[in-house]
Amino acid sequence: MYHLRLIGSFAKISAQNEMAYRANFWISLLNSALNLVTGILGVWVLFEQIETLNGWDLPATLAILGVYLSVGALRGLFISPSLDTLTGMDGEVWTGKFDFTLLKPVDVQFQASFRHWHPLALIDLALGLGVLYLAVSQMGSSFTAGSLLSFAVALAIAMTLLYAILLVFAGLVFWSPGFLFTWVFDGIFQMARYPVGIYPTWLQWLLTWLVPIGIITTVPAEAFTGNLNLSMLVGSGLFALVAVICASLVFRLGVRRYASASS
């Protein structure tokens, strides 16, 4: 209950902080719209030329895009705003402002993960869900309540996995305080816009098990389109659990290395 109340306070104060700049709202809206238009345009151009893409038709590919946008939005809502404050040359680890996080009587990983919120990412989330709705309307009657449930579970797994990856990247900052490790991930994450099945086998393997962005978007999209089997859902759930435990260990190991910036 204490932690939920804290999340509420963090979200509220972040919203207040964001409202200090009106222009940010309009720029964020424009950015979201651009993201949406380029995504849909890419898929539309592709399916003007072909019927299916390695077994994925237009509604299924739209579902992937919808998941990609929704997952990206959830990431932008709190995971990235919180973890990104640690990294970079003006990040808290480099400047030593991380001292204040360590001095608080609250778990460090919890604070690092939930402190900053970007409420305007809710616009992205609405757009992502809009694309998913579009995909459902294209699919017709094949969308069932079961699909919705397994989609919700798969999305939760995807978010856990995404969080684990970003936590590891953020944790690496304690080994190299000025480096923006999350940029590396951003580059790879772009590949999650499309079904992982369209990539060569070696890359599919890489994107499923090493940097598992395949699981992050493809698995929820498969659940959405009713093509996901239970073993894959359970397997990716276990994988996400192991990943988040390992990420937490890396992060905590990193915190022990923190030497604080010199006075």
Binding site: Q16, P105, S260
Partner: protein
């Protein structure tokens, strides 16, 4: 018996720092083979601090003050030695410990930049589980002491350095910590604001009985706030005791001030008296502490003295000499 709140025994902290020769080739080489050097920031220092004490932790840049404070507050792990603050090992960072200590850093801010400080205070109250009623009471008291009601609704980015520091102090005291670490709290403030903050800290210490450990490069902070000082230099503890005793213990010289009668000829001084200042027949001499009585008698016998006094050197001069030389010589 007064409770010991801070106990430090043979505390040592060693950092491994990369060393690199100058030039492009050395930079390139360091990409593959990096060399490190061990630097002892703090070396076997020991001291105790009792509840309610205000202790000045002084020393030149790089002496190990901030490192020590960071170990005491739980930000750094010690390399060896033992530390207990309120009975806790600080580096284990137990929530029960962290909710009883506070650290105010003069060169860093924990306030959110774009919104008024009141919003940050409310989040802090939530973090430290301060009930609403108590929060309002504590806040009212601090606002009153710091005379800062008008600041509560002003965005932090529009504040002056002094105003911001007032808010930092409120942020650090909202949950009534029992031990407070202040690292250069008056850094960069104008003389008047420094004075106001000093008065606040003295008042607050007397009202609440909070234990304070303070580092500052402004001797005025130390003389105004700290009956006791701990002086460290190059990681080693050089002095721990009353501020007043610092000069007599560490400065083995005294200052002899004498005024000569008008139209006196140029005086001939013994070689053991070093002239520090000379102006219109007034002389300030530096003499070895042990030599002071003999030399004073000699001066009175041989010179046309109108006035003479023997004093300990000002604290700033002693500190300055220690900072420059690491030791004080006559």
């Amino acid at each position: 018996m007064v409770e010991k709140q801070i106990e430090v025994r043979k505390l040592t902290k060693t950092f491994k720092v990369p060393v690199r020769a100058e030039g492009f080739a050395a930079s390139l080489k360091s990409l593959v083979q990096r060399k490190y050097q061990e630097v002892e920031a703090v070396r076997e220092i020991s001291f105790d601090i009792e509840a309610g004490e205000v202790v000045g932790f002084i020393g030149p840049n790089g002496a190990g003050k901030t490192t020590s404070l960071k170990i005491l507050s739980g930000l750094l792990h010690p390399s060896s030695g033992d530390v207990r603050v309120l009975g806790f090992k600080p580096w284990e960072r137990e929530p029960a410990y962290l909710s009883q200590i506070s650290m105010v850093l003069g060169n860093k801010s924990q306030l959110l930049w774009d919104i008024p400080p009141m919003d940050t205070f409310r989040v802090l109250a939530e973090i430290y589980r301060v009930p609403e009623k108590e929060f309002n009471l504590i806040l009212d008291e601090l606002i009153d002491l710091l005379d800062m009601k008008a600041l509560l609704t002003k965005p932090v980015r529009n504040m002056s350095l002094g105003e911001r520091m007032k808010c930092e102090l409120v942020a650090g005291l909202l949950y009534r910590p029992r031990v407070m670490f202040l690292d250069e709290p008056t850094l960069g403030l104008d003389v008047s604001m420094q004075g106001r903050l000093r008065r606040f800290l003295t008042d607050y210490n007397q009202r609440s009985g909070v234990t304070m450990m303070l580092t500052s490069h402004y001797m005025a902070d130390v003389t105004a706030l700290c009956p006791r000082v701990i002086l460290i230099h190059r990681g080693e503890l050089l002095y721990d005791g009353e501020l007043a005793g610092l000069a007599s213990k560490l400065a083995p010289f005294k200052l002899v001030r004498l005024a000569l009668e008008v139209d006196s000829p140029k005086p001939e001084l013994p070689p053991e008296a070093e002239i520090v200042e000379q102006e219109n027949g007034r002389l300030t001499l530096r003499v070895a502490r042990a030599e002071a009585p003999k030399l004073t008698a000699h001066l009175l016998n041989t010179l046309p003295v109108a006035d003479l006094s023997v004093e300990d050197p000002p604290i700033e001069a002693v500190i300055d000499q220690i900072y420059q030389d690491g030791e004080v010589s006559a």
